[in-house]
Subunit: 530 residues, 2 copies
Amino acid sequence: MPEVASSRPPLTIRMRDEDNVAIVANDGGLPAGTQLPDGVPGAGLVLREKVPQGHKVALRDIAEGEVVLRYAVPIGYALKPIAAGSWVHERLLQMPSARALEGLPIATVKPPVHEPLEGFTFEGYRNRDGSVGTRNILAITTTVQCVAGVVAQAVARIKAELLPLYPNVDDVIGLEHSYGCGVAIEAPDAIIPIRTLKNISLNPNFGGEVMVVSLGCEKLQPARLLPPGSFPITDERGADAGPETVCLQDDAHVGFMSMLDDILQTARPHLERLNARRRETVPASELVVGVQCGGSDAFSGVTANPAVGFCADLLVRAGATIMFSENTEVRDAVEQLTSRAATPEVADAIIHELGWYDRYLDRGRVDRAANTTPGNKAGGLSNIAEKAMGSIIKSGSSAISHVLSPGDKLRRDQRGLVYAATPASDFICGTLQLAAGMNMHIFTTGRGTPYGLAECPVVKVATRTDLARRWHDLMDINAGRIADGEVSIEETGWEMFRLLLDVASGRKKTWAEHWKLHNALVLFNPAPVT
Amino acid sequence: MPEVASSRPPLTIRMRDEDNVAIVANDGGLPAGTQLPDGVPGAGLVLREKVPQGHKVALRDIAEGEVVLRYAVPIGYALKPIAAGSWVHERLLQMPSARALEGLPIATVKPPVHEPLEGFTFEGYRNRDGSVGTRNILAITTTVQCVAGVVAQAVARIKAELLPLYPNVDDVIGLEHSYGCGVAIEAPDAIIPIRTLKNISLNPNFGGEVMVVSLGCEKLQPARLLPPGSFPITDERGADAGPETVCLQDDAHVGFMSMLDDILQTARPHLERLNARRRETVPASELVVGVQCGGSDAFSGVTANPAVGFCADLLVRAGATIMFSENTEVRDAVEQLTSRAATPEVADAIIHELGWYDRYLDRGRVDRAANTTPGNKAGGLSNIAEKAMGSIIKSGSSAISHVLSPGDKLRRDQRGLVYAATPASDFICGTLQLAAGMNMHIFTTGRGTPYGLAECPVVKVATRTDLARRWHDLMDINAGRIADGEVSIEETGWEMFRLLLDVASGRKKTWAEHWKLHNALVLFNPAPVT
Ligand SMILES: [Ca+2]
Ligand SMILES: [Ca+2]
Ligand SMILES: [Ca+2]
Ligand SMILES: [Ca+2]
Ligand SMILES: [Ca+2]
């Protein structure tokens, strides 16, 4: 393929004054011999070799063993001398070791006090427990994968036969998963997948209309998944009733169609109640936003993630909840997290979660460095230390007010900036954020991914204009315009905040919703299968 | 609910003369005071309490600490004295500890020499590598879950727009899974999910027409999943080509529809080649049958599984391949396996696999006892020792000729009775048996499960007439007639063997195929996620 010279003047981006590297912003990178123009970091330097887009260029000579700084933190040590103007790729860097979890700074940073942001609202579905849904969905909980084929057929029939009768209901989904039997349900770590499934059933987008399809003989019995008291039951069955359950092994089921009919019959009153609901104006503080990144490149930490960080601060100012996650991507930045903790208890909880994850990885004989992908490296991210700095910037500048263990659900009083401890895997992280109570999702991507969830709208943010142009009907926001110099981080953060309110209100759909692009739930099960 | 008295005379089943317990065969169990009639085990005994169907009754007084024998092996030790005629339930038994993996009898049993079974054939699709498909399916391999939403839409379009043009193609399926990224791909155990995915792509039911949809930046790159040489490429692309791959991040893709169009275009020549194939008569030796049980009860080991065992012997006599699996369900019967190994190498391989699994469970702080379910216990299986005896009976009486590690694929010369080491989880076991090259699946169930796979026909066998009657359009064979005294184990084994040939030939469909009941693939990934 012929190399197309960039039509824009050479542009480099340095994150902090102390950095001795900058990244090349130009589409297609910059060829050897390029002189960096006035007004950009490294002005006057001549590139000694081609530097791909998103990759780092040395701004000055770096001696062997010398630290390479980006975001003013060490992302590696030079394995040999690197001359100014060289491409600083992953093979030139020794990765720094992860900070030990002892002796960390605890709640030392006084975060900037932002003034409250008032008057922003959206149109949402208020639930009996006070939470607010952004969609009005009937979700059918399943205790075990055995029932998935039957539930899939029941959902197809509900969509065809019942949904037309209930036009205010947005969707019907089966909460399929691979847990429930053939698993070591008494293992200490089994609590994670079990509470995840329970809490997903209670996600605000499902309106409290819990119904369960069970096989009958599975390990994860309905009463174990959703013990009485798990959620308020206000219908005629009374508060002590468990969830309404269709058990396929019930003696009354004779023939396959009787199972489908039973599921449809059970769904009807739930659909009726959901259908009777109307959106009402609620304050922006009712947003529970999960953020994550996937398919990251070096622009993730320069454009999209900083814009998410700005939006996160707006959400905190508005009294809303914003969760960031991805243990292996914050591990190298643990100091920043513990120092930003609102209280020593929060810092301790962060240390507890990351320590647990260190040991979990260690049992499998790997460490946090297993996070990075070929695409990350091709995109200019040398290692997990560099990736982490670009990842945690999504959290903005607020104090961290709460920490959730994997699969835990936020209480109504847990607002502000929350660290929800999850693996970085896009699907596991999204699944755990659903369990936490997420009603809106922001997902940034540099390499591009068609990620989507049936349970919650996903706003996808491109880190580069090239991606946003090619994936024009998959990306909801183009943060690449920040690197193009067309908009500021702040402007993009505001665009995101406003789009969240529009999508939450149902006034706009995300592209993933438009195309019905849905990924399956993936549970985090650190316990054995049997 | 009123108790309906059984219309048949009281019937008990004892597996071996040495056993001091028998199970109650009657629907609804037998009430206290029932006298066991002449001609059944325990004749003359009066039941001291109600004994549910499938549960054990003591045939003589058992002292505290005395061994309880079923299948002539210890299934437990009495925790207190048990009088003859009592219900011997799980709370009365101390489970025996699992046999250590040292000092086992190795290849000591000379299995009965059965005469070869000749002249049985089926109509199958002969593949280039010599294997034979029982269905003619286009399977789209995916490297990572990120692409699942796009592939699902592409599959829907292929079904609507292309399949009508290729009437000899049975189906198009996307091989969706949760592996590929966000996983510790360099962990020692990562080899298991990777080879599983690779080998599933090469399942005989897919005709060697491998096509891959990749995202682009994932850890599991197409060339890592299917390195050149993984399968014979005879088309114009040449033998060194990798699999044909649609990469969603390809620069040429502008807009979502271009991705779908590319997948459809790529599928066309594969569909054309599949469509040109015709079934031909092949010997029964080309069957590769995976057997497993799920939702087991005490009848599993009395009716369905012994019939499967008889059928397994028929298959071995016909020169076919029959795989049994489920590590935690054979662990308590390890002596029987090692003594039946054809060679010391096979015995060593069995010990290696079960030892590996012991350690895997131990890392998660559980043991093989984590296998049993509430349904097993309700169905009369007191513990894993008892369940194991009923489970391995599926393997029949032949020598074990080969052992597969999880995710491994059978070589063409690996015929006969094979132990494919897998977890017992129905979906993980089925997924690994697909990877091994299964072209027919037998699944026995006592409690009932609507299990099905899109990739391979699943013949489902009910252990009880009551289940077969209620699930008349889900169960393919009623082995409960054995307990009813209507047919013999041998007759049911022959019925199964003939049904396998009919279904393999496409002359009959299983109920799961009829209803399109499909469970998702579930990978066995003992390595961490990141
Ligand atoms: Ca990430
Ligand atoms: Ca992620
Ligand atoms: Ca019954
Ligand atoms: Ca089993
Ligand atoms: Ca099983």
